[in-house]
Every structure is written in C-alpha cells, then in structure tokens.
Point group: C2
Chain length 136, copies 2
DNA sequence: GATTCATGCAACATTGAAAGTTACGAATGG
DNA sequence: CCATTCGTAACTTTCAATGTTGCATGAATC
C-alpha cells in the first residue's frame, strides 16, 4: 500500500461494509481486496473497533462488521479514530528560546487548528452510507 | 531537525530576516541557528529563491537576503514555495476499478482541496513583517 | 593572479516511521 | 479435537527526509 495508508484503508473498507452491512468479512478477505496484509488490516480496523465503529469476532465464523448503521457513521468518525492527521500541526517543537520561533509557531498553530476543525466538520457531514449511494 | 522540517526552517529563517532585512546571512550561520546543516539550508532556501522570495549571492561577502520588503512576503508565499503541503491530498492513488474507492476519493479530495484553499488564504493574511512585530 | 569565502550541486549515508511479515496464543464453532 | 479467525508481539523491509562529504563555480580581497 502507499502512504497515508491507514486512513485510506479504513475509508475504503467501511465504504464496502456500508454497501453490504450484513456481510461479515475476514481480515484476509479485506487485505486481499485492498492489496495489503491481514495483520495490517487488523491493526487499522482495531482502532476503529476501539472507537466503537466496528465489531470483530474470533473463531470459526468470525470477522469484522459495522457496530452500527452505516447512516450513523461519518467520515469524521473514521478520521478521528485513525490517529493519522491530514493536517500536520506544528507538533511539540514549540519550546524554543527564540522569540521569532515562538511567535511563528503560535500563529501557524492557530490557523492549523482552525483548519483542522473545519475539515472535521466537513467530514462529519458525510456518512459512509452516502458514499455508496454516490457510487451506485 | 524534526519532521516537517523544510517549512519550519523556511518560516523561521524568513522571520529573522524580516527583523533585520539589511543583514546578509550565510547558509552556515542559518544552519547553526536552526540546528541543522548548511546544505540543507541551501536546499530549502533555494526553493524560496526560485519563487523570487530570496536572493543569494556567491563569493566573499555572499549569503542570503530577502528579495523584497518583508511586508510584501506572506506566510502563504513561503508555504507555496516550499513544496511541502500540510494537507495531504489523496495523492495519485485515484484510479482503481473499485467504485467505492473512486467515490470516496472524489468526495474526500473535494473537501481537502477546499480546506487547502482556506488554509492558503489564511496564511496570505499574515506577512513575515507582522510576525516579528508580534514577537517584540 | 592567488587566496579565501560562499553558494550550487551531485552522490552517498543515516535515520525513522510506516508497512509488511512471521509466529504464536486465545477464542469460537462444528 | 480441529479448523478458523482475531490479537499481538517481534522482526524485517521500504522509502522518503535529512544529514554528510566532496568538489566545481563565482566573487571579493590581497
């Protein structure tokens, strides 16, 4: 898989799940479809499970399925569950004895946080259910 | 230096330059102040020169200086000159025989491009001259 | 002109995070 | 009991950013 992989994998997979919510998928199936590895899938989807978006079951008929109706899962839910920010905030490089550095960091961080909030609210406006309608 | 290094280095350096526009700085000086390497500095500032923000001169009294008044250089100018987008667009992974993938990509890209535009217009509102006023 | 200082640039090495892989344990159903 | 599937740890691979070295070029000074 390319870069930015976790979020892309999560969105893609949940998109398909929204299309057939009843179907239970194994990590191996998902990995094959996404062209990646089952362990990677478990790593990524594990975060979504922790966030309450997915349910996983072990054993013979086990696998992954949505934890709630696809209409109730937004792109923002997924974005927040995967800890992979599209907007690189200035990190923690903040402290510095250089006043220019500090002023700069403060100003830029403010803008970035604002932009991030805006991004999230835009993503929150679309559910994964709407995604597959669009693709029909 | 940490991650996100090019943009941070560029902003930091131009911030200082705005403070003392007349002073010509060598790559070595800038590198020492930023805790990095002179070649890295030249690589990064080279982009700003190509974008017309900086002027570099070789030889004995050579070095780097602003190409125009600091009031005329915005944070957006720097952001655009450094080809390091804070907003990771979906790259070129677009083409795929999977309709869910395509619908997803299209939707997310639209939002990201919009957010990117918004970021740039916010950055354009601040000049590097204003940055050092703030730090005074 | 020789020397010195600085950038320009190419080639290589280092680093670090993400992805991929292997291996094994635990749980579930037949 | 056995096949299946997730959970997780440990290790390897990959790749881009950064750092490093070396040398050519240009400009000022002697």
């Amino acid at each position: 898989m390319k870069r930015n992989g976790r979020l892309a994998l999560a969105l893609h997979t949940l998109g398909h799940m929204a299309h057939e919510p009843e179907r239970v998928r194994t990590s191996a199936d998902i990995a094959a479809h996404a062209g990646t590895n089952a362990v990677v899938v478990r790593r990524v989807l594990g975060r979504l499970r922790e966030a309450g978006l997915l349910i996983s079951e072990r054993g013979h008929a086990g696998g992954w399925r949505l934890a709630r109706a696809p209409q109730k899962i937004s792109l923002a839910d997924i974005y927040l569950a995967i800890d992979e920010r599209l907007i690189q905030t200035g990190e923690e490089v903040a402290r510095s004895d250089c006043s220019v550095e500090q002023a700069l960091h403060q100003r830029v961080s403010l803008v970035l946080e604002d932009v991030e909030r805006s991004l999230i609210s835009r993503l929150a406006a679309t559910s994964i259910a709407e995604m597959c309608e669009t693709s029909t």
